[in-house]
Each structure stands twice: as C-alpha cells, then as structure tokens.
Symmetry: C2
Subunit: 628 residues, 2 copies
C-alpha cells in the first residue's frame, strides 16, 4: 500500500513537515495549500526537497467552492483553477483535490454541476492535471460520496475522478458497501481519518477532533476493505485535522501517523480475510486489472501476537528506595533478594512481582519505570512492535541471564515483553538471591491493573501504541472530577481482564513531570481477602490513604449496607463499589514520590475500577499534597 | 440581589472553595454533594466554617433520579432522600435541588410523578427541608421548565417548589416569557449560567462549556428580567461546569464569577427598563407581595460609562529600549522627549501616542505594558471597574501631573482610563520635554488596534473584563492556523471601531511568558497612505516582516490584481485583503522581545483585520523564531 499524509496533520513549517514525513517513512504527501502559501520556499525548491527526501507529491489540496455556481463565478473559478494548475506544473504534481461546494453554490442541478466539472476536467487535461472530486460531509448540495461519483460518471472525462475520504463518509453514516461498485479507475485518491464518536456539528468535529486510524471509533478496516475490493491501488493518505497534533512535536506525530497506517493495513487485511467467504474476492480481481496507478495494493502484514496473558512484573525506581521497600513490606510483599549483577531488588506477593530499581538518577523520587507483560513469544512481539515503529530500549545482560525485549511507551514507561508461563511464574526470578520460605498468605495475589498519567500531547498516540503493539482493547473513556480539574480516564485491557492498564490524562496541559506529581500513578494488586490484607497491613504500620467519614455516610445512603460491614470499611479506610455483576473492595496507600499502591478484591464478576470512588481518592491526595 | 455560586464551579477542596467565595463577596453558596463527600470536614465543621465566613448555605445539590419510578425504587429513593435530609439538618441547610429523572425513570405519567413528588415533599416537610424541583434539559420525560412547574402546581405542597436554571432553559431555546406567569412563591431557587452557542449534544455542552454570565451568548438579562417580573426575590446563583474554571486559580475564578453577577444585575435592570413600557411592571409588584425569602430583589446599579472614544496611548517597556526607539523612528514616529519626573519617553505619529517605559526589570525584553483609553470620565470609569472587582494599579504622580486611573487586565496588562478630548489630543503630553516641530506627514495616524496574547486560564475572564469594565463588544471568534497550532482570536471593539482589541488565545496551555514569546503581541497604527509610509520606512532602514513570494501568487489567483499594484505589494512586503466593504493594506515589522508593530490602511468601509493573512504572519514569525 502506498502511504501518504497531508501536511496539515502536522505542526511546523512545510520544510519541517516534509522532513518529518520522510523520517517516518511515508511514500508521499499531500500538500495543503496554506503550507505552501506561507512557505519561503518556491515551488521548484519544494519539488527538489521532496525529490531529495524521496517523498512523492501525491495530492495538491484543497480547491474549494467550484461547482454549482453562476456563469460569472464559473469564469472566475476556472481562472483561479488555471493559476493552481500552473503552480502544480512547477511543483511537478499531477492530482488536485476539488471539494464539493460549500460557500458559493447557488444552483442545485446535477446537469449544470456535471457540465462545470467537465470544463474543469478539460482545462486540467491541458495542464496534465487530474481532478479528484470529493463530497464534503457538509457540502451544500453534494455531501454523499455516491452522489460525487454519479457526477464523475456523468462527466466521463479521463481527467476527472473521485476522492474517497473516510471521515466524510463515516461521519455521515453512509453505507460503505457500495464503494465496491465504483470503477477503480475513477477513484483518484483515498484519504483516511478516524474520529471519536461525538455528537456535534460535523464541521467542528472534522476540523478539531479527527485522529489517526486506531485512535477513534470509526470502522476503518471495513472502509478500507471495500476500497481494496473495488480494486483501488493508489495512495492511502492521512488527512487528520486535530488541535493537539497541530501543536505537538512534528517528527513524533509523523511516526504516530505512520504507525496508524501500518496497523490499518493489517486490520484491513484481517477484515478482508474474515469476510472473504461471504462476499468472495472476485470483485477486486475483476476491477483491478487495468489500474491507473503503478503501486500494487499489497496490504503489508505484521508479526502476529495474541493479547498478553498477564503482567509479568512492574518496576519502580528511586534514588532512595527505603520508602518503597517499607510500603511493600507493610503490604505483605516478601523480599526475594537482589539481582546477581544489577542494583535491583525483587519483591513478590503470590504472582505479583515488583522490581525496585536502585539505579535511578540521584535525587529522583519514587516513580513507575517499567512494566513487563507475559506474551507467547517475546521475539515475535518485539518484532511486531518495532515494525510499528516503537522505540527499542535495551537492558544490559550478562551471559545466562534472560534477555528482555523492551520498547518505550509514549509516556517513556519501558515496556518489556516477557516469556509467560502457564503457572504464572517467571524464569528470570532465579537470577535473584536465595529463594525465601514464604508464608502461605496471598498466594493468589496478582497485579490487577496499573494506572499511568499521560502527557496531553501523547494521549491518542498512547491509545494506538497499546492497541497496535500490545493488542489491548480501548474501552469507552470516563471523566473523573478532581480538585485540579476533570481527569480523562481511558481503560485499555485484554478481553479476559488479565491485563488492565488505565491511562489518565491530566487536565492541565502540564509537563509530564508535573502531571505525574499531581495525578499520581499507581500499581494495584488483587488479593482474595482484602479485609485480612488490610488488617495485616495496618498491624505492620501501613499508612493508608485516609478516607473521609462523609464518604461512608454517602456510601450507606447509596447502598444501604450492613452496619458491621460499613464499620469494617470505615475502620480500615476501605472503599466499596457494587454493580449488577459483583462487588469491589479496595484501599490505597499514601504516596511516595509520584507512586502509590492499591490493593483490590473483586467479588463476583465485578469488572470495573471503583470509578465512583476515584473523586474521593483525588480529593484526599490533593489535600495531602497541598497540605505539605 | 442575593448572590450565590455552586462549589462545583471552582477548583480546590471544599474549604478552599468556601474561602474563595467569601473573599469574592458572595452572599451564599450551593454545596455540590461530591465536594462534601470528598471533604475531611464533618457537616458540623462545614456549617461552622460557613458561619465564620459569613456565607449562607443556600442549596444542597444535586439529588438525582427520583421521580417516575417503580414502587420498589421509590421506596429506596425515599430512604436515600431521608439520609440527605438528615445530613442537611446537620449542615443547617433548608433547600435541596431535585433534578428531573434521567437514568431510572420508566413511567411517563404526570399523575404518578406528582404523587411521588408529593411523598418526597411530605418527607422533606418532616425535616424542615424545601425541595426545588428542576427540569434538566436532557431529563428523560421532564425537560421543560413549564412541565416541571405544572408538576409543582399539581402537588401543591408547601415544601415543593421549582428551580429555574438558565442553562437548562436557554440551551433548549424554551420561551422565557412564561416565567412571568409562575407564582413567585413556588420559585425556590434560580441558577444562572451562560454558554457559547455550540451545536453539540446538550449534556456535553452543559458539563464542559458553561461560562459565567457575559462570557457566552445566552440572553441572560432577558431571562433574569422575566424572573424579576415574576416577583422572585431569592438567591441568584451561578452553576457553571467548565473544564478550565475547574482547574484554574480558585480565588481568581471566584472573583471572575462575582463580576459576572454584578454585571448581570446591571444588564437585567437595563433590560427591565427598556421593556417597561411594553409590558408594564405591575406583575412584579403583584406577585412579589408575600415572598417566602427575606432578601429584597434590588438590582444593584453600577456607575455608567459609554464605550471608549479611542486609544489614548499604548505603552511598551524594556530594560534596553534601543530597539524599540529604532523601530518607532523608522516607522516615522517622532520623539517628543522624556517625562519631567519619570523614566519614560513619548513618541507620536499624529494622534498615535506610544510611551516607551525604561523602568522595566533588568534583562526584561520589550513587551506591551499598558494601554490608555479615552473615556468621558476617568473617575466614573474607574469607579465602575472597581465595583466590578478589577484590581487597581497605581502610578506615582507628582503635583500638577495628570492622575491616571489604572486597573489591571486579566493578562496583567495595565489599563489606564484617560480623559479624552474632542480633537484626539492628550493633555498629559505637556509633561514631556519640548514639543518638536513636526512634519506634516501622517497627521491622521491613530492606534488602529492592539493584539494581546491571553493565558488560557483567563481567556473567558478577559472577555467579561473588557465587556463589563470597558464596554467593548465581543465579536464572533475566529480560528487562525499557525505552525504551532490553531490560535483562537477574539475581537473586542466599540460599535464605531474607534477601539479595537484582539485577544489571542495561544494553542498550547503554556505559561504567559512562553505564550507572549510564541504568539507575539502587537500594536497596529492606521495611516492614510500605507504605500508612502512603507516606502519612507524602508528608506529609513526598517526591517519588514518578509512575506513569501508564494503568498503573492496565491493573492493574485484569489483577487486578480493589477500587475503594478501586485508588484508594489511584493516590493514592500505589504499584505492585502478585500471584502464587500472595502480593502485593507498592511505590513508588519520584525519582532523585538515579544512585541512588533503593524501599519494598516483601511480603504472604504473595510472593518476586519486581514484575517486571511494571519497564517502567513504566524508562519514567518515562527520561522524566524526557530531559525535563531
């Protein structure tokens, strides 16, 4: 598949954008007119830059408000078009995007529109330019891709085809199946964008909230599947207007964009395979025989992975690790010793393993540093992640030590892909000191979930990262009030809940460091008997997060609890939630640095995270942070 | 008017919120339940804090999902309600907000709803509580205030009344005139919120985008006018869910909130006066005779001001002022000398006066420091601003020097209220050195507009500040693409365009300093002959902002300009715009520190700011900033 991206997706100057696209590995770009108009580089210089960078200049866009106008306006529009065709010749470009008229159309008549588009196509032909006509979702008279295609068919000119844009089609809920009936010769360009499902006017939605494929809720694999079946073999190019992407790091956003296309290729191939029996694959073969483009539409494949089977470990680091050791000990974790060759400690409770890394920079406060996931094959999972452009992190290893495959998540947390085992043990633990005799308590403890604060610039990127590289599924997001603002909370999990990751987007657009400090991160462990765990921890002197008495009054008003149960909750600072599936008990420790711990007990099939209790946690943590 | 505010409007803990409300001068507050539930303070402590702060506890809210339910659920709901009534007794509160059912209503039957509300009212009566029933805009069956009131009438219980919330009424475009027909005895509470007109689902709109009165587009004065005519004399309380307010400084937001109510009082009185002839004022007198509340509904008045007649001066400051002096000299400004007693210089061109302040902190770069506005009476204008809680700034003055009335704008720019004169001169200029002999050129120059970068936390506050204190009118906002993101641009101006202020909201949520550096501020001067001005400036060696050649090609494609005119534009780095009213020519200087200058010529009745050219300016400025 030939990959492309519109320059409007990225921040920076045209030159910076082009360089970032080349570094990210795109085949070509769409030049968004304003980026050229505001550039100090002449069209000839832009052409040379693109050639030097190995970037195709695949689409000039947009040309607006052409069709359905009065004869006087048509004349002016053709003159305007000719100036752009001349410019395209200097750029060495051959395809222009013409959007259906929004502002100046006054005549709703397909015959007239077709005749005007025919004039445009004829003029374009004189300049060696091909016109890709697209129905905008908010076009005044033409806002449906099938309508745009009917016009293209009516005109029947070699220099006029259509452009399919997933946003304009899926935002209007148009049926995508008829795409397969379009003559592939007449699909001159395909643009893709994803979006969260928002109920707002489609223009604002389009201009501010588009995201890269895999970061929203559109059925893009299906859309692309129909496009492929139609026989289309041209560029598939991202056109994503997003307020955050427009202001975040250019190169990094370009890589995020490229990742989304690689992932979309795989998902599209999967969709095609899964629907092959139903609909047959003859259409593609039939239509695709005489493609106008030279790029064969081969959908690249990626190394296949299943969703992770569980957390292998979590790693926290600090300059001074005493507080972490104390907390884990009070929670009931056992110290398993130091690593043979590295300055790290292993602490365990059942199958919950926590590494305390003592190699942190001096004066750095306790923080979550890394997460290990159990996968079928670390090498295959790592290969997949790297093909998805995840940055690699290396760990120094000695002979006969397990080699960890590591990648860096968008928030810089290190993600290690580990060999899982059926019994939940980890082979690498033998690299640590003598195994101790363990008490029988909490043998079944596991890491239940991990909660990470995300920098605002990389929130969507993080969702795609965990979706594509780790096969976690994003759940509908929630918003949690805190004294510092609303916290957006995005759960990513496996279908069986064995891995649960919660990404929190802090309200203020702060530095990652401030975000981590204010919206603390935590590791939650699940045990069988939370009350017993809490009592033992209290006996060991654990500092619990203090839950206000008002909370318990409200809890009682909501759930009508047994008095002795309520008293136990209050006594131990436990929080409680209940839904149709089951019950949830949990407590939090005080925070050290930017990290705290949570212990949870899931009763029945409770599948949530105690969301109604999150505001209480935020308020108490805020209070203790500001009281210091 | 008794003023109030819901604690959910503000950031921080319940205690911090209450303190901020007292400082801002509110009469009472609404306790948002979650703020109490998450507070470490007992109901008794909260009651005492409120009493100590002189704050009434006017409304406990919200109680959700009560009416239209099955008998089993009714029983549970009554139990839940009783717990809250008990809590209110401990708080010493007598009014609770009950919203129409969203989630659990299954029976759409007014008789049933009325009987259930009657049970609630009876229970409330036993606890000395009054229930204010409100129709949520998205209530499942009850979403119209007239419907809610019909239910109140059906129940006819002394402990059941209604709550009118401007958001729930105006977001649905309900007619507000029938409010006057409501028995004032039955209006137990009034909540006000403004909002920008957005086309999105009403729940998201309500939860994230409400603003304080005067910061949005609702007809709140009319709403309040009808409420007053109905005879209502109870609290008028802000309930504003806003993502930004929830995370910005608590005290400052509370002051902004209070300002909005003071302004609303004045606007409501104006609306009542302007419609008195039409509808008579008998309704209010008739209904208001036996009010259940003790607070008389007197709408406070403010000192009256007209819109400013023009800019009196603009002031820039720097540690090293050499660059500023050079730029102004090159633009054609004349140095009028130093002030008798202060380290400031005066530069003028016609009636455009620029003060260069040399008293800046060491190493501070050139920046806009202050703006002077011509008003009818500086003392009255200052009194008004201070009653609107604008912070006062003082200037040291010697005997026989003009005393400037100064206030501080939300972005810290100092605003001076100056005595205007019919001929546009300023008396204080005699405090500067010898008047020089001036050339006849550009006698008509004036300050055309000033463009200020606003910190994201105080953008809405700034709109209300300039609206209420300076009588500027907000225009519909625009969004301008820049290489660093979309810039939101809000024009505030007088009806005749004599004062034009452009507030720019930088995309990234950065510090004010970074925002100023990236999204530079400027002062624009209007002259009669821009081409001549530009030529003279060029001859004096002015460094123009360099406009790319691509811009002129696009300009030609858009406007089909005369070749020699286009050549002149290119030669002098002039920008151009045209609309149905006239033409606009302008150029920019290079930036020094965070400030640059613009020279403009308005031809015909052109009333804009060359918005299509703004992306070019941003791109070139970005480029020069990043090349350094």
């Amino acid at each position: 598949m030939r990959t492309g991206i519109a320059t409007v997706c990225l921040s920076g100057t045209l030159k910076e954008k082009m360089q970032a696209c080349a570094i990210a590995g795109f085949d070509g770009i769409e030049i968004f007119e304003q980026d050229l108009v505001t550039s100090p580089h002449s069209p000839e210089e832009v052409r040379k830059m693109a050639a030097d960078l190995g970037l195709g200049l695949d689409l000039y866009q947009p040309f607006r408000d052409f069709d359905g106008v009065t004869p006087e306006l048509l004349k002016a529009n053709l003159k305007r078009a000719e100036a752009k065709f001349n410019l395209m010749e200097r750029l060495g470009m051959d395809t222009i995007l013409v959007c259906s008229n929004v502002a100046t159309a006054t005549i709703d008549d397909d015959e007239l529109r077709a005749s005007q588009l025919a004039e445009l196509a004829e003029l374009a032909g004189d300049h060696g330019v091909e016109v890709a006509y697209e129905a905008l979702a908010w076009g005044k008279y033409v806002n449906d891709y099938e309508h745009a295609y009917r016009l293209v068919e009516m005109v029947d000119h070699p220099n006029l085809g259509t452009c399919l844009d997933s946003f304009h089609i899926l935002s209007r809920d148009w049926d995508t199946a008829p795409i397969e009936q379009i003559n592939a010769e007449k699909i001159f360009f395909v643009q893709v964008a994803d979006a969260p499902k928002l109920s707002m006017d489609v223009l604002s939605w389009s201009r501010h909230y588009r995201v890269f494929p895999g970061e929203g809720q559109f059925e893009l694999a299906k859309f692309m599947g129909h496009v492929v079946r139609a026989g289309y073999t041209g560029p598939v190019s991202l056109e994503v207007f997003n307020d955050v992407f427009r202001q975040s790091d250019t190169e990094r956003t370009a890589v995020d964009a490229m990742r989304s296309l690689i992932w979309l290729e795989e998902q599209s191939a999967k969709w095609l395979a899964s629907t092959a029996v139903e609909t047959g694959t003859e259409t593609a073969a039939g239509n695709g025989s005489a493609s106008r483009r030279r790029y064969p539409m081969e959908l690249a494949t990626l190394p296949k992975v299943n969703e992770p089977a569980g957390f292998n470990f979590a790693e926290v680091k600090a300059d001074d690790t005493a507080q972490l050791e104390k907390l884990l000990g009070q929670l009931g974790f056992e110290f398993e010793g130091r690593h043979r060759t590295k300055d790290v400690q292993l602490w365990t409770m059942g199958q919950a393993r926590v590494i305390i890394n003592e190699q942190a920079a001096s004066h750095s406060e306790p923080a979550i540093a890394a997460l290990g996931f159990d996968v079928d094959s670390p090498v295959i999972a790592s290969a997949r992640a790297q093909q998805l452009k995840a940055p690699v992190v290396a760990r120094k290893v000695q002979a006969d030590e397990e080699v960890f495959q590591g990648i860096s998540a968008p928030d810089s947390t290190e993600i290690f892909l580990c060999q899982g085992s059926p019994d939940g043990t980890a082979a690498w633990t033998h690299e640590f000191g003598e195994g101790l005799e363990h008490s029988a308590a909490q043998r079944n403890a596991v890491i239940d979930h991990v909660n990470l604060a995300q920098p605002w610039q990389h929130f969507d990127e993080a969702v795609l990262f965990y979706t594509s590289a780790l096969a976690l599924e994003p759940q509908p997001f929630a918003e949690v009030p805190s004294p510092s603002g609303l916290v957006r909370s995005q759960v990513m999990e496996t279908s069986n809940g064995a891995v649960r990751l919660v990404l929190n987007l802090a309200p203020a657009q702060q530095s990652q460091e401030t975000a981590r400090k204010t919206y603390q991160e935590h590791i939650a462990f699940a045990v069988d008997d939370l009350v017993a765990t809490a009592r033992s921890a209290r006996d060991r002197g654990l500092e619990f997060l203090q839950i206000p008495a008002n909370y318990y009054e409200d809890l009682d008003a909501r759930f009508d609890l047994q008095p002795d149960f309520l008293a136990t909750l209050m006594e131990l600072n436990l929080l409680y939630d209940r839904d149709a599936n089951g019950e949830f008990l949990h407590f939090y420790t005080a925070t050290v640095g930017s990290v705290f711990f949570e212990m949870v007990e899931r009763r029945g099939n409770y599948d949530g995270y105690g969301a109604p209790n999150a505001p209480v946690r935020h308020a108490v943590q805020y209070d203790s942070l500001h009281r210091v």
